[in-house]
């Protein structure tokens, strides 16, 4: 860093006010000093000249009037003359002495009170010169000695010497100098005052702005903003400050996702956005003020919005997590999350999200780290509380940017109660089905019992009557009894598994199994009603994730509906009365169809058939819940159910399920 650079840097550090002050002062000083010097030079030299001229004038007048006295050699007159000249009014301050000498150098007369010192005679006039000036010393004072020749005609007859008091001249010059210095000082002081006032006027608003900006950047908006116009804020005057719904051009622009109106909308008489007439500093102040007001409004709006969403987050009835994409750890959670999951907040934050739902959350996290698309919805996932208690949730995850990192915001709804209610409803539906079946089932169980009873009665009778039972008869009876007991037990097992409330956990089910189970319960009854079953069950079905007994409920509902449809158009004595059940695989999906030869379903009814309480049966015949429950159960397993029916041509209900392990999640 050279000295120049250093100086420049020092200069850069000096405030604007000082710069202005210094530069103005320097300019004023330079100008006044220059003026002073010039004028002093002119004035001092002309004053000195003037005094000298006066001295010469005195000398010449003495020479004019004294010439005849010298010729007459009238010394007294000559003395009187020089005394008169020397003592005339103010001359006595200027003129120290006058003396006259003749050509020979004799002193003719002088005004001194003491003998004339010889050194005064040093100033001699050269021949041909009329006058000369010379600095002499008289005692302790300095004297300008002016000599002027005395002529009479063509001849010089003597010389007049006038001594001018140098101190007097110097005093005059000094006075002049003091006057000038005073003038310059006055100018300087005035210019200091002026320039400091001016610079203050310029720099104060700027430094005020700086101070305000600093405060604002520190986030302190509650400062009086007295700028230029000198008014302070009164936010009550601005309706948009308290009501952010009001149209205001600022909000028009700050509202994300909303296009502002063509023209800026604002209050007819805006209390805050204004421009004053005035210089640039006032303009700057105004525009700064407007800017601050804007920021103030905007910040308020932001805070409101932040508070709103924060309160939504904090007081939301459902747990919400913010999970870091990269680490899979929970970055933030709301109080409801701690409540539901049973972890304290400090433990929850930083917890691995996988710990809450090891089975399902991996898929969720992978979805975002791999695809990173939009939001995703996972219905009915199992999560665990602190302590391992499982419960069911619906999970809704969306990608966000959280503190500069990729994160997922996960909202969770506890649906355990819902699922339990669901299960209860399904259970109620099952109980209803069981009720419908009870007569048939009783009959079904009675059949083997009857055979057993008759067989055992035969045996006991033979025994009582002491009759010989032929061996093959005995064997026949005993075998039959055993077979019939098994048959009855099987029916009871089926009933029991059908009636059992399913666990919340799904199992792998081969679709043929619920079909066979239902048939074992109803087949006989249907056949008594002259309805025949035709089964086309594929072997080697892929399993599906479901509950066997709920699927039985589905099949049961469908076959009983099929029976009702068949009974609607034909009776037991005649007609085509068949129910066809098919199962099979079809690329990653497993399907089951229940077809009947009944009356078919209207196009309009097909739209509504799965609605709860919709029934085509006569009043009192059906609740209209069977198919609604069926639909719900199938949806639970990620399946679909469709109708293919033409009025009068019979109906096919086809349900499809994703094969186990392929169930995807639905996009939300």
């Amino acid at each position: 860093m050279t000295a120049g650079e250093r100086r420049f840097a020092r200069l850069a550090r000096i405030g604007l006010r000082e710069k202005l002050l210094i530069s103005m002062l320097a300019a004023v000083l330079f100008i006044s000093v220059a003026i002073a010097l010039i004028s002093r030079y002119i004035l001092v030299s002309s004053l000195t000249n003037e005094l000298e001229m006066r001295g010469f004038a005195i000398a010449h007048s003495v020479a004019e009037r004294g010439g005849s006295y010298i010729l007459d050699n009238d010394i007294p007159k000559l003395l009187a003359l020089i005394f008169d000249e020397a003592r005339l009014r103010q001359r006595k301050d200027l003129v120290t002495y006058i003396f006259i000498e003749d050509q020979a150098g004799n002193i003719l007369a002088h005004t001194l009170t003491h003998p004339l010192p010889d050194n005064l005679r040093a100033n001699t006039l050269a021949p041909g010169k009329n006058d000369s000036i010379m600095l002499m010393e008289l005692g302790r004072q300095e004297v300008y000695d002016l000599a002027a020749a005395i002529h009479e005609g063509l001849y010089r007859i003597g010389t007049v010497h006038v001594g001018l008091n140098k101190r007097h001249i110097d005093t005059l010059v000094g006075k002049l100098r003091v006057a000038f210095l005073g003038f310059i000082s006055a100018v300087v002081i005035i210019s200091i005052i002026l320039s400091s006032w001016l610079s203050k006027r310029i720099t104060k608003p700027v430094s005020d702005l700086t101070r305000l900006s600093d405060e604002i950047s520190r986030g302190n908006f509650d400062i009086p903003l007295k700028l230029g116009s000198g008014e302070d804020w009164n936010s009550a005057e601005c309706p948009a400050f308290t009501n952010t719904d009001l149209p205001c051009w600022h909000f028009d622009q700050s509202r994300s996702g909303q296009t502002p109106a063509e023209t800026h909308r604002k209050c007819a008489d805006c209390a805050f956005y204004r421009k004053h007439e005035g210089d640039e500093v006032i303009q700057l102040g105004d525009s700064f003020r407007n800017m601050v007001w804007s920021i103030k409004l905007y910040r308020r709006r932001l805070r409101e919005s932040e508070e709103k969403y924060r309160s939504l987050f904090d007081s939301g009835p459902d747990p919400i997590f913010v999970v870091d994409c990269a680490t899979g750890r929970i970055r933030d959670a709301n109080p409801r999350a701690t409540e539901l999951y049973g972890y304290p907040m400090d433990e929850l934050i930083g917890l691995d999200f996988l710990q809450l739902g090891p089975e399902h959350n991996t898929a969720c996290l992978n979805y975002f780290s791999e695809i990173g698309g939009g939001c995703v919805y996972y219905p009915k996932r199992l999560h665990y509380k602190n302590g391992g208690e499982p419960f069911f949730v619906n999970m809704h995850a969306c990608p966000i940017s959280y503190r500069g990192k990729q994160a997922i915001i996960i909202a969770v709804t506890d649906i355990t109660e819902l699922i339990e209610k669901d299960a209860q409803l399904i259970q109620a539906g099952k109980m209803k089905s069981l009720g419908e079946m009870s007569a048939g089932m009783a009959h079904e169980i009675n059949q083997p019992l009857n055979a057993i009873k008759v067989g055992s009665e035969f045996l006991s009778m033979m025994q009582e009557e002491d009759l010989e039972i032929p061996k093959e008869h005995f064997k026949e009876v005993v075998n039959e009894i055993s077979t019939q007991v098994d048959r009855a037990a099987e029916i009871i097992d089926t009933l029991r598994s059908f009636g059992r409330k399913s666990d919340l956990m799904e199992e792998s089910v081969n679709l043929n199994q619920p079909v066979r189970a239902v048939l074992s319960m109803v087949r006989r009854q249907f056949e008594l009603d002259n309805i025949r079953f035709e089964l086309e069950l594929s072997e080697g079905l892929s399993p599906v994730q479901a509950h066997s007994n709920r699927l039985q409920q589905v099949i049961f509902n469908l076959v009983t509906n099929a029976r009702d449809a068949i009974n609607d158009i034909s009776n037991a004595e005649s007609g085509d009365r068949r129910i066809i059940i098919r199962t099979g695989n079809e690329d990653q999906r497993v399907y089951a169809e229940v077809e009947d030869t009944g009356g078919g379903i209207d196009e309009t009814d097909q739209q509504r058939i799965f609605e709860p309480f919709f029934t085509t049966k006569e009043a009192g015949q059906g609740m209209g819940l069977g198919l609604a429950i069926t639909y719900g159960i199938i949806k639970d397993y990620g399946g679909e159910i469709r109708i293919n029916s033409t009025k009068g041509q019979g109906t096919v209900f086809r349900m499809e399920f994703p094969a186990a392990g392929t169930r995807g999640e639905s996009k939300a």
């Binding site: 009783a442 009857n450 055979a451 008759v454 009665e457 006991s460 026949e476 056949e527 009603d529």
Partner: protein
């Protein structure tokens, strides 16, 4: 009197057991697996006694009963019903089934039913449904035997009138062991009982076989008449 019995049931194991049991009782057993088969066998073999299940595919027991009664109204048809399936039993009685047995079948009930049937068969047709009135010291007793049906009704109502005119405190309808009562009989008896219960007298029924007793209870006949056991005859209940 032939010894043929036709058993109609869609359950092959049951048929098998019946065959063994009835054979042991000394019957010649014919079997059919459904109503239609049963009717055909009936036409061919003309058994006097038919045991039929009601719920069967192709043609159920009720239809078979109707067809058999059409062919020979005198045939003793015993229907086998599921336990507590009273509606069907009554429906069968209305179609002149002479008796019914509950499933699962008890030997005792079967034996009784068979015995009653045999007795009824031995009662001459003209004497069918004989109603006999006798007087006891505290009650007027109407004895009923054979099959109570529409044919029996005039005689029965006459007997009721006479019994009422005796002025006893209790009127007792005494069914003999072999008595059976069909739908028309039940309807007639009910109206008679209602009539006399309304007139203030105490009417009791006794001697009913257990299955008829349950039919009466189902139909609400017990509102008009008490059913009492034979040994407690005419003793007022506490």
């Amino acid at each position: 009197m032939n010894n043929k019995v036709l058993v109609i049931d869609d359950e092959r194991p049951t048929l098998k057991m019946f065959t063994l049991l009835l054979t042991a009782y000394g019957y010649e057993v014919l079997t059919a697996e459904n109503g239609r088969e049963g009717v055909e066998t009936f036409k061919r073999e003309t058994p006097e006694l038919v045991l039929t299940d009601i719920k069967m595919p192709v043609m159920d027991g009720i239809e078979a009963l109707r067809a058999i009664k059409k062919i020979n109204p005198g045939t003793e048809v015993i229907v086998i019903t599921g336990h507590g399936d009273m509606d069907l039993a009554i429906q069968a009685l209305n179609l002149d089934a002479t008796d019914f047995i509950n499933k699962p079948l008890k030997r005792e009930a079967l034996e009784k039913a068979l015995t009653r049937a045999r007795e009824r068969m031995t009662i001459a047709r003209n004497e069918e449904g004989q109603v006999v009135l006798r007087e006891e010291d505290r009650a007027a007793v109407i004895g009923v035997r054979g099959n109570v049906s529409a044919i029996t009704m005039p005689r029965l109502s006459e007997a009721f009138e006479q019994a009422a005119s005796m002025g006893k405190e209790t009127m007792l309808v005494d069914f003999e062991k072999n008595a059976s009562i069909n739908g028309a009989g039940i309807t007639g008896l009910t109206s008679l009982l209602r009539q006399y219960a309304g007139s203030g007298g105490r009417v009791c029924l006794t001697g009913l076989s257990s299955n008829f007793r349950s039919v009466f209870e189902t139909l609400g006949i017990t509102r008009f008449a008490e059913i009492i056991d034979r040994d407690k005859e005419s003793r007022p209940r506490g």
